[in-house]
Symmetry: C2
Subunit: 331 residues, 2 copies
DNA sequence: TTGTACGCGTTATCAC
DNA sequence: GTGATAACGCGTACAA
């Protein structure tokens, strides 16, 4: 834990000189430079990121924040990896937090980010209008949204075409001859849910089918709610012949419900999920899914953030990535 | 982004007074206190964690680091949640990084941790003797190891009884009548692998069975290596009748290899894995596993770290948690 | 080319 | 009770 002071003393120069050789400002004669570098090595000097951050205006902390709902969800884990790899490639460290979609935790971590003077933030805003986030953006914090966008303020955004993904998934089921197609969505108020629902409805409409309320259920994106909702649907007097489940965890839950009731997939009931799963091939059966390029979402978000940090006044851009229907054996 | 200075000015007091009301030091008369609190609210003041960290000796950053190999591995994701929840409960933020078991990345993040003056670190040391970690511990950084321990220096440690877990798993297979039991382990040099192998060998010995080299394979903890190694074993002239696979990802890979070759589980070949999977119930078949209490590992590690931060001279303790054999349908 | 000195936002130790 | 003021470690404008 040597300081500039100590290095300077050992090299018999001033701290300014040491700072100069550190910051590559070339106005230092080779011999003193050599002496300083020697002292640096001897003491194993490392600059304090804390002191540096305090001194400098901003944009040089080389630290960014990422707030996601749940790192145990493979979709977010993959985004996180994309963000981190891109950050690491540029020598940025990552302050990673789980909000659990809990406003209190989200607030806490948002405060931490600000109080730590991070250079920027990437996040899937859990609430269109969260005043804390909006305020932060207005205060000049570089923010890149992923997956979902902010209503009241414009930021860089990396999103996936949810409408198209859902439309293709449901069309795929329709082409297989299904007409009773149920929808299991996540929390209905978030924008991604709305778009997927729209894709579902429009796909049905293209086949002259009206959406039936009893076949549309809202959950909370968790495994358990997928299990429960699929169960309810299967227990209907006229159960659906196919399930379109709007996220990965709920898909796993739906599969469990199917097994519990001894329904064969896809013979009795077909299934298409949203989000791919790393273990898809080992599932019973491997599910057909709409795969979101999550790693790419994270990577591009981080890259956008880096650009914004270096040029805070760029006009915000939106990157829209395409999902891909992966047909496996559940449909 | 108001500072103490501005608040003081607005409340017509000195910064010292403001600092006093913030730090609850009660030597301030009610009326001035009220005035200050008003100013605080008006300006939406938040203390800078950076400045605070620079000023204070240590142990008050309310920031700890966690370095894990791979957040996409459910085992580590669960540990991370345990750590984070415990941290959050004590108002600590978490600097979370993935090392990929890559020495270069590990080194980078370790440096970041030190340079950020984090209060402490929890990590599964990827190398018994990593000089960077050892040095950090010697320099006084509070460190709690999880899952694996450091050879050259003593730290707090939260581990799982790997030997016993493996012993029980293999004994379970032996009781089912299996005699040709193969072992698929991760990187053979890490301590957890050694212990699990020991459990495997001893369990066989208890049944008067000698371990057979051709049935013992080492991989790298990744899904693909599980698939490849299981494939090799199944293609043997005298293939094993049961597989004991030493981590979660490799278990999924082994399952895939089994399916590829049309082997029925457990009718043709039985399978027991190490580490539970959140999607276990949806796998084909749901695998019997040795479940490690990963969340608890993380939680207790963070709690130990908090104790060490407040009392750096405590003698290090080791917490050993018990794994649990969960019998499902693959054995 | 090198050194001195200030300020970043805090906390804590003095005086008053 | 309250107010100056000295650190904490660093970058940099300015002086030498």
């Amino acid at each position: 834990m040597a300081t500039l002071q100590e290095v300077a003393h050992r090299a018999r120069v001033s701290i300014a000189t040491v700072s100069r050789v550190l910051n590559k400002s070339d106005k230092v004669v080779p011999e003193t430079r050599a002496a300083v570098e020697q002292a640096l090595r001897d003491l194993g000097y490392r600059p304090s990121r804390v002191a540096r951050r305090l001194r400098m205006n901003s944009g040089r902390a080389h630290l960014v924040g990422l707030i996601i709902p749940d790192i145990q969800n493979p979709f977010y884990a993959e985004i996180a990896r994309g963000v981190e790899d891109a950050a690491y490639a540029s020598d940025y460290a990552l302050l990673l937090c789980n909000s659990d979609e809990n406003p209190e935790k989200e607030r806490f971590y948002l405060d931490v980010m600000r109080d730590e003077s991070v250079d920027g933030l990437v996040l899937p805003p859990f609430d269109d209008t969260d005043p804390a986030v909006v305020e932060l953006v207005r205060a000049g914090m570089p923010v890149v949204c992923v997956d979902r966008s902010l209503a009241q303020v414009k930021t860089d955004l990396v999103e996936v075409d949810n409408y198209r993904g859902a439309f293709e998934a449901v069309t795929h089921l329709l082409e297989k001859g299904h007409r009773g197609i149920a929808l299991i969505e996540g929390r209905s108020e978030v924008s991604t849910s709305r778009e997927r629902r729209r894709g579902y409805v429009d796909a049905l409409a293209a086949y002259q089918l009206a959406p039936r309320k009893e076949l549309m259920r809202s959950g909370d994106f968790k495994q358990e709610s997928g299990r429960v909702l699929a169960g309810e649907l299967l227990d209907l007097r006229k159960p659906p012949t196919a399930l379109f489940v709007c996220n990965n965890l709920m898909t796993v839950g739906a599969l469990a419900a199917l097994h519990q009731r001894g329904r064969r997939v896809p013979a009795d009931v077909a299934l298409v999920g949203f989000d791919d799963l790393p273990w898809a091939e080992a599932l019973d059966p491997p599910p057909t899914v709409v795969r979101q390029p999550a790693y790419e979402v994270g990577r591009q978000a981080m890259e956008l953030l880096l650009k914004r940090i270096t040029a805070p006044d760029r006009t915000p851009v939106t990157v829209r990535l395409l999902p891909e229907l992966i047909v496996r054996r559940s449909s």
